[in-house]
Every structure is written in structure tokens, then in C-alpha cells.
Symmetry: C2
Subunit: 428 residues, 2 copies
Amino acid sequence: MTTPAPRHPVAVAAILAVGSELLRHDRTDTNSLHITARLEELGIGVAWKAIVGDDRTHLTDAVRFACARADLVVLTGGLGPTDDDLTRDAVAAALGRGMTHDEPTIDAIRARFARRHLPMPDINRRQGLVIEGAVLLPNGNGTAPGQWIEDGDRIVLLLPGPPREMRPMLDAVVRGPLAGRVGRERLFRRSVRIAGRSESHAEEVLQPLYASWARGSVPVAATILAAFGLLELQLTVRHADAALADATLGAAAGSVVAAFGDDAFSSDGATMDVVVGRLLADRGLRVAFAESCTGGLVSARVSDVAGCSAYFERSVIAYSNAAKRELLGVPGEVIDLHGAVSEPVALAMASGIRERSAVDIGVGITGIAGPSGATDDKPLGTVVIAVSGPGAHQRVRTMLFPGDRQQVRTLATQSALDHLRRALLATS
Amino acid sequence: MTTPAPRHPVAVAAILAVGSELLRHDRTDTNSLHITARLEELGIGVAWKAIVGDDRTHLTDAVRFACARADLVVLTGGLGPTDDDLTRDAVAAALGRGMTHDEPTIDAIRARFARRHLPMPDINRRQGLVIEGAVLLPNGNGTAPGQWIEDGDRIVLLLPGPPREMRPMLDAVVRGPLAGRVGRERLFRRSVRIAGRSESHAEEVLQPLYASWARGSVPVAATILAAFGLLELQLTVRHADAALADATLGAAAGSVVAAFGDDAFSSDGATMDVVVGRLLADRGLRVAFAESCTGGLVSARVSDVAGCSAYFERSVIAYSNAAKRELLGVPGEVIDLHGAVSEPVALAMASGIRERSAVDIGVGITGIAGPSGATDDKPLGTVVIAVSGPGAHQRVRTMLFPGDRQQVRTLATQSALDHLRRALLATS
């Protein structure tokens, strides 16, 4: 595919996700996230995005609106064979262009059906409709080709809706024709993940760093995202020189890690489960969990990491007091004296699972996830986390988490992994 | 708050979510889902929605675009105190109206700060800016009031971005002034959830039902959503008579249940975990799980249901062969002979956890989630699920799931719960 010499670099994009089903109260558009990430890598910012139903007028108007305000308009969806698939028609109308049936495309669709020993339904001819002047983009995973349209300084891109068809087509465009149409600057990204700090406290620590990054010869921009008790600081640099951008981001990430110490648990994109897994594998230590209120969530997170069998081979979920006694050897009188949600019980769970599993580290988690079970001195959200080992080390901490049952369980899971991480860091 | 006599019922809405952070590649707008659900209950359809960054021109243009195409324009976000919070300014510009500082609102914001012993920063005066002719909507959970603006036949609604501020304000509007401005028809919804059928097979079964629902005196519309191996058929009726709509939906749901038999596991919105929990509680049976490849996910799902301690008190995660032998009594020679992922091992896990836990039903799950561990005769995605009990009953099934590690684990979890459900149904 040949593209004319660049006139005006593509810098601003708009994304339109097409399909009435995307307007349902229980559906989110995720295609635009993937498209945003890929465009940003090329230095193209997304100024605006919309979800439009299968309505010819709304869709045509939305394409016109987007074309007036962006260098690149990316549409996904609405390329199917039915009368509801209106993206081709709407773009043609918005740009004032005609459409023709492309017989080689229709032949290819017919061949795709033939491989499954099916005749091509007549309606699929619609998928061979090509907008005047469009370059077709091959679809390896479906029947509808994409279309690349130059309209003055503007590019309009039609991509299919199903992610497995859309993504490879977008990748080809990003590596190919689009790369030749952007400025020399690219966007580079790096994340630092932080545990155990509130967003406002982190902002306070970061203020002087923000200021120095903004003044640097290669400015670094930063945004904070808070989720499930963790913070993610996303650092970005827009520059033409990849090596310089990378070095700048590395230095910025380093200064964040220095400022937050052990609270900064990842600066290479690794999630908490992966970080914990690496620490265990590096130290050659094995872990087992004794879960009560988290009911399996901690073990599920740890075993979500491929290769976890090097350090994880078992856990026990001891929801009831009987299970705590029988499976973990927690003495009944300790439960009677302190209650099931207490530091002595959490410690006994941690040491119990450790000894009975013959592993290096045991983690015990007990708490009140709600909605019932709270008492005056142990409110809903009380969670006790204990780590036993390696060696004679042990630590225990009582936390109070906000929110409903689901949120308390999620925060307790996050916190249990973080406690394990800190115990491992203390193990040289 | 008084509203003028209805002229033209509000039927079509557009939603604008405001904020540059919502255009990030790792953020989705979820406010619009909640807003969509609440508006649909009033019979208002969402034709179009957009996410716009903190840019005065884009935002003003988007408001104009939305106002030209909807009876109701709902904006959320951009009501904060900073110069980046431009929703008020953009709406005022789009409607050609002025703004004034509302002193009682500013006093209320100042009082909110005073309760936390803080002076009100000067920038917060911006949150007291009221668009000419707007009615203010009180905010119980934050500083920015909402605004309700009548513009000819059109309503423009400004809501805050944080869900805990937005939701109560929207609820008040939906119950209050908006309810008086819509037609008599409301939207009523009912879901039937189905396990063990492909979407295309389900569509085939449903075709004659669709046809008869469309012909009925109260037409029922239906859409299918497929996710994680389950199908959700959503039935909707638009009608002025709530009792008639409810009876019609009940009859339609009943005919789906009749057509799918035991594969239809819920027609009242209950999820699989809740359905399984109800069956266990109703029969007075207790369950324990022996999980390998799912690593705790099944137990986590079951214990996500409040009150699960009535039927769930323990599980074992036996990731390694040693754990299967030691914790569940699976004979080493059975593992050696058949492999860890085999029907004899799954059955031994199920009966092992059942006997050792002294519960009524044991469930064993073993499989190859990947990326490694596959063999020629046991490809990646092979999962064996066994149910032992109640009594002498036992069942085992080998499944092959598509996808990566995470997807295989999710599908295996779903399937294990469904197998347990079917075993319980067979128990009268």
C-alpha cells in the first residue's frame, strides 16, 4: 500500500465504537482502550470518543462531527452483513462519496464460506461494499475487510468490531501506513505501583518530583490511578529519541522508588502477584496460605501466575472454626479466648499451615467481610493478617478496610500479598 | 422544585462523560452504565454517548451536538473547582446563557470545609457558578451541586463525576422531576441465565419464541449476551402497565426455562454462585472443594455469597501431586497410572475432600491451565471435574476449554459450579 507524502502529521484522533449493543447498561466498549494505547504509542492523542447505536442519521452526524475535529477518525464495528451494519454507509454519506461492490473481496468472502462447506448468504455481498477511494485492509480472522480513507489531511479508518479481527488489523496499520503519517515524537510510558499509601499522601510526596520533571530537558508527565488500595503512577514522555525517552523514564521511576522505598513495589509493570512470585522464586522459598474471610482469593491470585508451582503447591481454606482446628491445628481455646478474628488465631493459622505443609512461609488471613459477624470491638472490615517464617520470623497486623463484603475481601487479598512481600523483602 | 407542564415527553437521551482521565487507555467510563439503567427504567433510550476530555472547545461542541439530537442530555464530571473543570462553562456557552455565583451554594461549600476545620480555598468559588435559569440539585456527598436546565423542550442535566455523589443525585432526579416528564411507558427487564449451550444453538432454540413474543399483545424484546461460557438472555417489555409487563415477562421467562430445562439456571437475576448456594441451603447439604488448576477460584466464588457458612466451611487447594496425596488421600499409584489430570484422580480428590471434611458433597477439579503442562493426549485447556455425593452418587466429566491460562481457569470455575448445580438438581 502506498501513501502520499505526509502533509500534516496526524496528532489528534477520535474513536467511534458502533453498535446498539454497546449502549446497553451492562456493556462497556473495550476496543477503544486498545486503540487508544496503540495510537498513543505513535504520539497520537485521543481527544474524544463516542459510542453510537445502529442508526444511520446519528452515525453519519457523529462521523461528520469527528471529521471536523480530528486528524484521524477510527471507527470500529458495524461492518457486518446485515442492514443494521451501517458504518460503511454512514462514512460514505458523511464524506459525500459513493460505494461500489468489490468483486475480489466478495469472492474472498465466498471462499471463506466454501472452506466451511457453506454457500455465501446473499446478504454478505454488503461486506464487499467499498467506499470510493478507500484502500482495503485484509481481515485474517473474519469476512469484513477494513477500509483506509484519505480525505484531505484527514484519515478515516474503518475496523471490524470483534477484537480478534480488529486488533491484528490495527496492528498492521500502526506498524505500516499510520507510522509514516505521524510526527517524529512518540509516547513512552512507565508505571510505578505503590502499596500502603493514600492518594493524597502520595501526591504530597510527589509534588516536588512533578515540579522537577516538568522543568527537565525531556519533560515527564505523571498521572495517578488509585484502585483496590493500590496506587499506580503512570509516567509518560513524548519524544523523538526512544533511548533518551527510556533513560528519562527510568530516572524518573528511580526517583519515585527512592521516595517511596519499599512501598513502591513495581516499576516495570509487574502486578503484585508477579512481584511476590519473583521474590519467592529468587529466594527459593515456598509458601502456603490459610485463608478464612478471603475464601480462596489469595491463593487464586498467586496461582494466576504461570510457573507458580515453583513456590506454591497448596493452601487450606478454613472458613469455620472447626476447619481452623482440624486443618491447621489452631487450638480451640485460643479461638474461644480471643475470637476467630484475632492476632493469636491469625498467627496460629500461619504457623499451622506452614508446619503442616512443610513450607518456608505460612500466611494466615482471618476477618469479618460482612454483612454479618461484626461486634462492637471488631467492626465489619476488620481483617488480621499473619506471616510465619521464614525461620523464626513472624509478623501480624490488624487492618480495618472500608466497603462491602466484596471490597473488604479484595482489599484483604491485596493486603495479604503485600504483607507477604514485605516479609520477603526483610529476608536477605 | 416545580417543573412546567410536560410538553413533549422525554424519550431519547445522550450521555457525556467529562474528564481527560476517562480517555486513558486503562480507564472505562462506568457512570454511563448506571445512568443508562436508570433512564431505561423510565422508558428513556440512550441513543448516543461520548467521553470528552477537559477541553473547552471539544466539550462545548459536544454539548451542542448532543442537544441537537436528544431530549435529555446528561453530563457527568467536570464540576470540580479547578480550571480544568469546564462542564459548567461549556454548557453555558453551548446554550448561550450566562453564569452567576450563587452565594448560598458557596456558603454551603464553605460550611462543608469548616466542618473539617479547613478554610475554603478560593478556587472552590467556581463550584458555586450557576447557569442562568438552572435549578440546583443538592449534593449530599460532595461540594459541587448538580444543575437541571430546561432549554425549550430539552433538559440538560449536570451531575458530578464521583459515583457516590452522582448516583444519589440521579436517583432523586429519576424519582422526582424526570418521572413527570416522560411518557407513560416504562421499560421492564428480566434475565434468564443459561449454562451449557452455545450462543448459536441457543439462538436456534429461541427463534420460535422470538417470533411469538414479537406477535404478542405486549411485545417482548430479547437480546443475548455471552460471557465466560454462560449466556444471559435479557427480556424487555415497554409498557404503561407494570403488572401486565411483569406478568408478560414472567410468562416469557417461563417459556425459556421450559425450552432449556436444567440448562436455564436462573430467571430472577441470581448468579451461579447464588443459585448453587440456594440449592445447598434448601437441601441442608454441605460442600467442600478440592481445587488444583483453579487454585482457589471456585471456593472464592462460593464464599463471595453472604451467608455461605451455612453450606461451606472449608476447601483444600492441592496444586502439587504431594498435596493431592497428603491433603486428600489420592493414591500415588492412581496419579502415576492415569496422570494428575484424569478422571480417577478428580474422583479421588472429590471423595477425599468429602470424607476428610465429613461433608455431604465433595467437588474435585484438576486440569491444565497452561501455558505449560500440555501433552499429546491432554492438550492445554483439559479440565476434569468430579462430584462425589450426596450418598453414593458420583459423576465426573472431562472438558476442553479454549483460551489462555486465565480464561481456562475462569471457564473451569464456572463449569465446576454448574456440575455441582446439576448434581444437586438430581438430588430430590
